[in-house]
């Protein structure tokens, strides 16, 4: 038997993969903190997306393969995982982190190793601004979540309708945010837009992320007598919420509270989150797009909890990458970047398009009613009830009895 014919036969006999078999899978590295609510949602949601794409035959016959890494919320671990993903595991794209500090550390590596990378949950404005400032090197990075400036705008837009123009007639606010990279632009945004919607900012408190006792902080806030506490918290969440309820701080909390985006937050706080109002990009009970609720249902079925905010992003990002590979006709990184820049895709959080090279927020997703606008929910009886925008609202604001608001 000629050698040429013998080899495939041998390969078959030993179960070796044949050289000309089905196309190579598209490997997507997923780097996130597995032991945090907002972190674990990223690989979990990416797995749901990959299963769906593969069940429909993959991308041009190529299956999606998720390679997950735990970065322990450390920039060093994340960079190491990224290098391993690129050099050893030969991934074609990466979806990474909900922490801005980690995303900023990965950004240059995406350029150096030429791996198209999307963050589904980090928020700092710096991510997109750096791409704008050094496009040729950093163009491989995409900001798949709203930058802090847009988040602040979203909270202010909601505050106008819900707090100042409503029967609550609020006039004053204190900003309480954690000391982190993502809140610096968020707070600047709040300081600029809250007065414009009629909320005078009486004080601005930045909380150390390792704070455990919030009593002195609430005591100081109460002394200023604001109508509302506007929050910017993500890495802290349980303690300020529980202590707010236990101490019966009579001022409502309104703003961003990332941990509260997952259903596990109710149990984590023993229900103390009742009455907390928060902005998010999608929720399992509201059909922001036709894809939102089916994804949330699939996620809940698989993991028993609702996805944290970063889960919606990670799910969409897998589809964005698959879509880009399809349009680019393969996994060449530069062609993928060009394809991602031309993205126009309806995801779970809205219509996804990235800003271009010349926009100040290069490669950030677009904010607005035609794109991703976010919504506001309030925790009521263990559920997140949508209260804004009016088009999707299923309930109205209702605060626990210890919160004093005008009625």
């Amino acid at each position: 038997m000629p050698m040429r014919r013998l080899l495939p036969a041998l390969a078959f006999a030993f179960g070796l993969p044949s050289v000309a078999s089905a196309a190579d899978p598209i490997r997507i590295g997923v780097i996130a903190e597995n032991s945090a609510i907002s972190g674990i949602a990223i690989p979990n949601a990416a797995a749901v997306a990959a299963e769906e794409i593969n069940a429909h035959g993959g991308v041009d016959g190529r299956m999606i393969e998720i390679v997950a890494y735990d970065d322990h919320n450390s920039a060093v671990d994340a960079v190491r995982a990224f290098q391993r993903a690129a050099n050893q595991d030969k991934v074609h794209a990466v979806i990474a982190t909900y922490t801005s500090e980690v995303a900023l550390a990965l950004e240059p590596w995406a350029g150096r190793l030429k791996i198209p990378t999307i963050t589904p949950g980090a928020a700092s404005d710096e991510i997109a601004k750096r791409i704008h400032g050094d496009y040729d090197h950093l163009k491989y990075f995409f900001h798949g979540y709203l930058p802090s400036a847009f988040l602040a705008q979203s909270v202010c837009d909601a505050a106008k309708d819900l707090l100042t123009d409503s029967k609550l007639k609020m006039k004053t606010a204190v900003i309480m945010s954690e000391d982190a990279a993502w809140t610096t632009p968020l707070d600047a945004g709040y300081m600029a837009c809250l007065p414009k919607v009629g909320l005078q900012v009486l004080d601005h408190i930045r909380v150390a992320p390792d704070t455990t006792d919030f009593t002195p902080i609430y005591n100081g806030i109460e002394g200023k007598k604001p109508d509302v506490i506007v929050t910017g918290i993500s890495h802290v969440g349980v303690q300020p919420t529980v202590q707010w309820a236990n101490q019966q701080v009579p001022i409502p909390m309104f703003g961003i509270s990332s941990q509260a985006t997952s259903s596990t937050f109710w149990k984590d706080t023993n229900g103390a989150t009742e009455g907390v109002v928060l902005q998010l990009v999608a929720v399992d009970t509201v059909a922001s797009t036709p894809k939102t609720m089916p994804f949330a249902a699939a996620y809940i079925k698989k993991y028993g909890v609702t996805p944290a905010y970063s889960g919606y992003g990670a799910y969409d990002d897998v589809f964005l990458i698959a879509d880009a590979v399809r349009r680019a006709g393969g996994t060449d990184p530069d062609k993928m970047v060009a394809a991602l820049e031309a993205t126009d895709y309806q995801g779970t959080v809205g219509r996804l398009q990235f800003f271009g090279k010349d926009a100040p927020f290069t490669h950030a997703i677009k904010y607005g009613t035609d794109y991703v606008s976010g919504l506001v929910v309030q925790w009521q009886d263990g559920k997140q009830v949508a209260v804004w925008p009016p088009a999707v609202a299923t309930g109205t604001l209702r605060f626990p009895s210890f919160v004093k608001v005008a009625n």
Binding site: E33, S35, A36, I37, I40, N73, D179, R206, V207, A208, D210, T211, T212, D213, F214, T215, P216, I217, N219, G220, G237, V238, Q239, V242, Q243, N246, Q247, Q248, Q259, T264, K267, D268, T269, N270, A272, F402
Partner: protein, 289 residues
Amino acid sequence: MLGLQILIDGFAISALYGLGAIGFTLLFGVSGVLNLAHGGILLVSAVVAWLLADQVGAYGGAAAGLLAGMAMAFATFLLVVRPIQRSPAIPSEEKEIFVLTGTLLWGIMIQEAVAYFTTTSPHTVRPLIAGVTVLGGVRTPTNEILTAVLCWTAIGLLWLLVNRTRAGKALLAASINPRGLTLLGFELQRIYLLVWAIYGVLAGTAGVLLGAFLGVSSENAGTLTASAFSIVVLGGLGSVAGSLLAAYAVGYLETITAYLISPSLRTVPSLLLLVVVVYLRPQGLLGRR
């Protein structure tokens, strides 16, 4: 008003610090063990109480947390400390450092296990009593008052045990002269078991109360150990009264700093105090040596 608020908050947090630290100091005084898994044990108690409160209610959860604290204390003793103390392969002069390393690593294992099973997010134990009480115009969570009362009850019971019972007096004797105690026919191993049991109750109670008062996360385990350690060093290693004094010094310094200066500088002055005390009076405030 602010003064009263500081007085109330400082009292409750100091009582909790005291309860957390006296078990740690007692263990060292009686058996010479510095248990660096201390924070991990507090953590497990709090997390068990949090997890089970849904099924068995707040009180059942708290009881389960207390039992978990005891179970973890015994596990630490039987799986980590005693094998090292009995090992013929470790020279006796190196045993202390091995116990130190062993409990440190055990603490990290506990911390990682809790992070793996329940995430690094903080958990808060459901308060035993909900609601607030107004004390002289200061709105105080009723559970905070209960925390201070329970801490002092536990401390009082410990005092009675040590000073009024035969077993307690044996504990005291073991801390002063273990060799003399064995000559009198007491078995040191049984005394060690007793002190670990008492430690388990104290640590379990402190863990559950801490979980309800401030909440705990797996990332706090190291900080909790460090905080107990520094209070104990400040008060004098092995001195229960010294630990209580130090707990109040640290608790009030932290509270005053948080209210009057800035919450983010909370721990700085008490750490400076520790440096000063270690420099000027290395045996601690009430240390014997």
